[in-house]
Amino acid sequence: MKKFILNLVVKENITLNTQYSLIILTSADPLPPMLPGQFAEVRVDNAPNTFLRRPISINFVDTTKNELWLLIQKVGEGTKKLCEAKSGETMNLVVPLGNSFSLPENIESEVLLVGGGVGIAPLLFWGAYLFERGYKCSFLLGGRSVENLLQLDDFAKYGKVYTTTEDGSHGEKGFVTQHSVLNGHNFDAIYSCGPTPMMKAVAAYASRKNIFCEVSLENTMACGFGACLCCVTDTTEGHQCVCTEGPVFNILKLKW
């Protein structure tokens, strides 16, 4: 897919809570085609101690309103600065980057999307995409506490939402992989994005049950488009770049 360097306008910056912001970007020109699972490399302006762009998933694309959403968690100086963006400012993105989730083979598939923390970001776009194409999805979203569960109302538009929190403040208490829906249901495809230990647990479950499963990996990236080879993960085919061969990988391919 053709990649672009875009100056998008911050239409709105919605502070979800102290840790997370949802940034709605727009443009006078139509946005280029993008797929769920892809990400953007966002330039951080006015930040004295960051230097490289920051990889951020495409959280949602609203083609009717020409909007691109980014869901950002403040973890360090770069994300903190991005979360301070004000309406009317521009943000510079290299987009769309990486591969995307693969559609389940069968329209009848029972699909589960499992997200943890800010890892839910690409799953909203993916859930909407599946829903529009007639797939039936469920969402299993987890977080340490209720503040780490995000965009629940948005997810609810596209399927049933199950939640877990480690402290029991919302949904079932525990980790996503302990949720009762995993016992009750037989899923045909699972897609997951979140902290690595969570994805590994999801992958273990899928392997055990022989379920098709893709996960979206993070990695330290310098370029985001295959030029630096800094972002490798070990696979059955050797070192592969998460930014071009991923971020979405079938778990059968990963050696982690």
Partner: protein
């Protein structure tokens, strides 16, 4: 119209803006962002005799105004390059140089020999300065005899342009430059990355899987400029300068210090269009200062 062409050893570049090895893939990665044929010359990824998987993850750490990398020359080897990559990149519309690395002198020789056959590759950049590989690599570039030996042996088998890329991790860079010049280097490029390290204080661990890695980006620019100036004052062959170039002004500083051409590395990651912007900026500078040819400002620093 200003003349942007520069002489580089046996050859002529259409302009002095080149890309630095390991930061520009095979050029095609940037095709969506700009017309890569406008670039003066592309140095492709570090290539070795055999396939290399490179170092384990994590390979990158951001540092103040710079970054550390520990890629470790991941590449599919020279045969794969010749069979699968050369056929597509040879028509990219500008001069392509292959950056050659090895663990032994024989590796260098064999790789160079294979590349010598390729019509559309006018030269190689001999990387005797990679800090991210266990054997060979940087070691060749940190002593005069070993640097000279690699160049001497490769010179025997490689007939076209040999650009030798020096390591900055040395006491006296001009001595190394003179040693490789004496063995027939057509031009000298510098600097490769400075050996550095990053630590995660909270985890009490090195950030990189290899503990140390190579520092690049604006942080190293003052060191790079100094070394280019020292080398340009020592040798007669053309010098290609790099290290932290982010814009046209940086590029002009290297040219004034004595570089006949420059390479852009890390900056490509932040602005994938930076090469053409630098090119346009150099042109604008020459026009503004009423200079007809970029050649007039090579080494034109007034001390």
């Amino acid at each position: 119209m200003v003349d942007l062409s520069v002489a580089l050893g046996k050859m002529q570049l259409k302009n002095p803006v080149m890309t630095a090895s390991g930061t520009f893939g095979y050029g095609t990665e940037y095709a969506d962002f700009m017309d890569v044929s406008r670039i003066g010359g592309i140095i492709v990824k570090g290539t070795t005799l055999r396939d290399r998987q490179g170092n384990p993850y994590p390979r990158m750490a951001e540092t103040p105004s710079g970054m550390l990398n520990a890629v470790g020359l991941q590449n599919k080897g020279v045969e794969y390059f010749i069979e699968h990559i050369y056929p597509t990149v040879k028509n990219i519309g500008t001069d392509i140089f292959v950056n050659v690395s090895g663990s032994t002198v024989e590796d260098y020789i064999e790789t160079a020999e294979r590349l010598n056959e390729l019509d559309k590759i006018p030269g190689i950049e001999l990387n005797i300065s990679c800090p991210n590989v266990k054997e060979g690599g940087m070691a060749f570039g940190t002593s005069c005899p070993s640097a000279a030996q690699v160049v001497k042996e490769v010179r025997r088998v490689y007939k076209k342009e040999i650009m030798v890329k020096l390591s900055p991790n040395v006491t006296n860079i001009a001595d190394i430059a003179l040693a490789v010049e004496a063995q027939g280097a057509d031009s000298i490029s510098l600097i490769n990355t400075l050996l550095g390290m990053a630590i995660d204080a909270e985890k009490r661990r090195p950030v990189l899987s290899t503990v140390t890695g190579g520092l690049s980006g604006p942080a190293v620019k003052p060191v790079a400029l100094r070394m280019v100036w020292q080398v340009a004052n020592a040798v007669k062959v053309p010098v290609v300068g790099m290290g932290g170039i982010m814009n046209a002004s940086d590029a002009i500083e290297f040219i004034l210090a004595g570089a006949s051409a420059i390479q852009i590395g890390t900056a490509n990651f932040i602005d994938p269009q930076v090469c053409v912007k630098v090119l346009e900026g150099i042109e604008e500078y020459l026009i503004r200062h009423k200079i007809n040819s970029v050649k007039e400002i090579i080494g034109a620093l007034e001390i």
